[in-house]
Every structure is written in structure tokens, then in C-alpha cells.
């Protein structure tokens, strides 16, 4: 117990002293996951709108496919991206393996179906009369869809926050495609795994505390969006 308290106090010390290695790991995590979520939000919302507007029977196939993709195992995504980006893979010439860009790609693949799935579900569950009312008032198909998006804005924002929550805590994919290189591709989750493996728990605890804090902030934002959506 004493060991745990001592390690925790030292971890607090690392956080308050703004240790350089610690800060660079946190910033890289935020940069990688933030960029991935921005790209995934654009792709996911567009995908959701595309499926929502689709009239073709293919839609019946796409929705279960999308729902299945929401639970993609990160290690499988990591392996798939690794095979694509490795020297012998189809995108090997881009030399992206073991770079932050590869990590962003992997996290995008993980976050896009989550954002698309939740955004699509909220558009579908919105009152179907919203779309019809907009059309009655002279809206084009595009305007009517924008209206539905506007009406479900808080649920769609929730999907983005859920996507961020998923990728920032993810370790499997970024470890495979990033390689956990110190000062270059080492993010919070991979650093925690490595430090715990080494038996050096102080940095791991410090990073774990920041990860928990971020998770708390993400869930607080999610709660606020859901509450506002319910009130409006």
C-alpha cells in the first residue's frame, strides 16, 4: 500500500513539475487523437448523411455493416493498417509506418464507424415529421437533411465525443502501427503499457491520471450535450 501511495505522490510530482518527456507524450496523444477525430468526424458525418439519404436497397446491407464496424477490435485495425503501410504492402512506398500519421490513420479507421453509426442512429430516431415539415415549407432534399442534422446536433456532437473517447484510450492499433518510439510515436496508452512492463510505475501512473482526467472531461462534455439535446 505504501508503495502505491509513494508512486502516486511521485506521479503527482511529475505532473506538477511539467516533466518534459511526460508533456511531450501527452501533447502527442492529444495531437494524434485530436487530428484523427477531426478527420473521422468529417468522414463519419458525411457517411451518416449519405446512408440517411440513400434510397437504394444497398442501405439494408450498409447499416448492419456500419453497426458491426463500430466494434472493430483495435489490434485487428492496427494489423490491417500495418499490412497496408509495411514495405511490402500496397502503400509501403509512402513510408508512413511507425509515424504519427500512421497512428492517425488507424485511429480514424476506429473512430469513423462510431461517429457515423451514432450520428446515423440519431438522424433516424429524430422525428420523421421534421424532414417532412421542412419539405412542406419548400426545402430541397439537401435543405431537409440539413434541417434534420440541425435538429439532432447535440446527438451528433455526442458521437464525436464518443469517437474521441474511443481513440484516446486505445492502445492496440497505435502500438502496432506507431511502434512506440520514444519522443516520436509514444503516446499515453503505449507509454503506460511499456512503463508497466518495465516495472517503472511512476510515469505510468502520472499518464494514467491524465488519461482518466481526459476521460472524465470527455464524459462530462458528452453528458452536457445529451442533457441539452433532451431539454431542447
Amino acid at each position: 500500500m505504501g508503495f502505491l501511495i509513494e508512486s502516486t505522490l511521485k506521479a503527482v510530482g511529475i505532473i506538477t513539475s511539467l516533466d518534459r518527456e511526460f508533456i511531450s507524450i501527452v501533447l502527442l496523444s492529444l495531437r494524434v487523437s485530436g487530428t484523427a477525430v477531426i478527420i473521422a468526424s468529417a468522414a463519419g458525418i458525411l457517411l451518416a448523411v449519405g446512408i440517411y439519404q440513400m434510397q437504394s436497397p444497398v442501405k439494408r446491407l450498409l447499416i448492419p455493416l456500419l453497426n458491426t464496424s463500430m466494434g472493430l477490435p483495435p489490434v485487428v485495425v492496427g494489423l490491417f493498417i500495418y499490412l497496408l503501410l509495411s514495405r511490402s504492402g500496397p502503400l509501403g512506398s509512402l513510408n508512413l509506418l511507425y509515424t504519427p500519421t500512421a497512428m492517425i490513420i488507424a485511429q480514424c479507421v476506429l473512430a469513423t464507424p462510431i461517429i457515423a453509426g451514432i450520428a446515423h442512429a440519431s438522424m433516424i430516431s429524430a422525428d420523421p415529421e421534421i424532414r417532412f415539415t421542412a419539405l412542406c415549407l419548400g426545402a430541397s432534399e439537401l435543405h431537409a437533411t440539413i434541417r434534420v442534422i440541425t435538429e439532432t446536433r447535440y446527438s451528433i456532437l455526442s458521437s464525436v465525443v464518443a469517437g474521441l473517447g474511443r481513440v484516446i484510450a486505445e492502445v492496440g492499433a497505435v502500438l502496432i502501427v506507431g511502434g512506440n518510439i520514444a519522443g516520436y510515436t509514444r503516446v499515453m496508452t503505449t507509454a503506460i503499457a511499456l512503463e508497466a512492463d518495465r516495472g517503472d510505475f511512476i510515469l505510468a501512473i502520472a499518464l494514467g491520471m491524465i488519461l482518466l482526467l481526459l476521460s472524465l472531461c470527455i464524459n462530462a462534455v458528452l453528458y452536457i450535450f445529451q442533457k441539452r439535446g433532451a431539454i431542447d
Binding site: E129, C136, H143, E151
Partner: protein
């Protein structure tokens, strides 16, 4: 200005039990009431005539001073001259004023004109004092009035209303009826409304259509329909024997 709407042999089949199969002729300057028992196809006909749902067969012709438009379901410019107010008012999650300006904003109308027309429409349904209130917080009667204000602000050539005062108290009903009458007084608008309220049909309509099982059984002037209906079904409907 739309002068007339002609629907010829339009057919919409939903299942083996119900199909709409009818023809109808509506003229500008007239308020038309569409009466009929529940499930007779009134709302389906309204949605089809307002160009929001296509019939499986038949044709709909819109005619203005210059030309005729055959089945103009994809003609957005024409569709914007027609507005349908639904039975169940759906309001957007924004202020009352923004709800009213929605139809104007998507038509690219400038902010100043938007505000003027929206305020005029709100005054016509006595909601001007609620303009900054979130629309979802209105009462059901106020929401229905807001629904009508959204349509009035657009100033459509053709206004269709699906049971505009169903489940409303006399005060809200009176305000909505007054607003419809004011629009009728402009003289050149085509108004079609569905109602179960025979007193309302007498009060507002010039012409009455009676629909039963997807067929228009009778069409007559208001006076003739209520004093001496031609068909036994219409007589039974007026006596309250079918509903």
C-alpha cells in the same frame, strides 16, 4: 399565381385493403373542404396534391397564368408555391421567430424582409409576443398556430391544411380559422383543408369534396352539400352515421 390544380385518375395503393383512386379539380380564389370518414384517404390525397408524394398512376396538373405543369414533383420552384400544414405540428428546436423565418431563409429572402413577413405572420396568429420563446415550449394550440404562421409567412399560392384545428380549444380554433379566412380574403389563393368539423367546413369552405374509401363520392358547393347532399353516403356522413 396558381390558377388551378387538376388531378386526373391518381392512384395510390398501400396494401390490398386501401387504395386512393380519384380525380379532383381545385380553383384559385376558393376555399375547398375535404370531408370524409377516418381512413378514407384525405391526408394521402392532400400529400399527393401538395406534390410531396407521387401517385403510382395518374397525373397532376398545376396551371398558372402562363403555363401548365404536368406532374411537377421535381420542380422545386413550383413546389415552393405550395405549402402543407400538417395535423401534428412539428416545431424546430429554435425560437418561434426562427421557425417562422425558416421557409423564407431557404428561399434566399433577405433578413429585413424575413423579419417583416415573419412578424406579420406571427401577428395574424397572435403569437407576436412569443417570438423569442423556444418553440418546443409552446402549448399544442400555440404550436399549431406557429405551424400556420410558418405557412402564412411564405405567402403561398396554394395552402393545404390537414385538420388544422383538431384537438384544439375554441380560442385557438378561432384564431386559426380567422387566419385562414384572412388568407381567403386576398381573393386569389387556393386553399384546401381537411376537417372532421362540419361547422368549420360550413364556416370556411366555398366548395366541399366528400371522400370515402379513396374515392371522391361527391363534390358540391357548400350550400348544396349541406342542404341536399346527392349521395346516400354523404347523407349518412352528415347524420354522423359513418365517421
Amino acid at each position: 399565381m396558381i390558377k388551378e390544380i387538376i388531378a386526373k385518375d391518381i392512384v395510390r395503393t398501400f396494401n390490398s385493403r386501401f387504395s386512393l383512386h380519384c380525380s379532383i379539380h381545385l380553383e384559385s380564389g376558393q376555399t375547398h373542404a375535404l370531408l370524409g370518414p377516418n381512413g378514407s384517404g384525405k391526408s394521402t390525397l392532400l400529400r399527393t396534391l401538395s406534390l410531396l408524394e407521387r401517385p403510382q398512376q395518374g397525373e397532376i396538373i398545376y396551371r398558372d397564368e402562363k403555363e401548365s405543369y404536368l406532374n411537377p414533383f421535381s420542380d422545386l420552384a413550383l413546389r415552393r408555391r405550395v405549402t402543407l400544414v400538417n395535423t401534428r405540428p412539428v416545431v424546430f428546436r429554435e425560437s418561434v421567430l426562427k421557425n417562422v423565418t425558416y421557409g423564407l431563409r431557404i428561399r434566399g429572402i433577405g433578413r429585413k424582409e424575413c423579419m417583416e413577413r415573419a412578424m406579420e405572420a406571427l401577428r395574424s396568429v397572435r403569437l407576436e409576443d412569443h417570438k423569442n420563446q423556444p418553440a418546443p415550449l409552446l402549448s399544442s394550440g400555440e404550436k399549431q398556430r406557429l405551424s400556420l404562421a410558418r405557412a402564412i409567412a411564405i405567402d403561398p399560392d396554394v395552402l393545404m391544411l390537414d385538420e388544422p384545428t383538431v384537438n384544439l380549444d375554441p380560442e385557438n380554433t378561432g384564431i386559426i380559422e380567422q387566419a385562414i379566412m384572412s388568407l381567403h380574403e386576398k381573393g386569389d389563393r387556393l386553399i384546401l383543408f381537411v376537417t372532421h368539423n362540419l361547422f368549420q367546413a360550413r364556416k370556411l369552405a366555398d366548395k366541399v369534396f366528400f371522400i370515402h374509401n379513396g374515392r371522391i363520392i361527391e363534390q358540391n358547393s357548400k350550400e348544396k352539400f349541406f342542404s341536399s347532399p346527392e349521395t346516400e353516403l354523404a347523407r349518412r356522413f352528415l347524420r354522423g352515421e359513418i365517421y
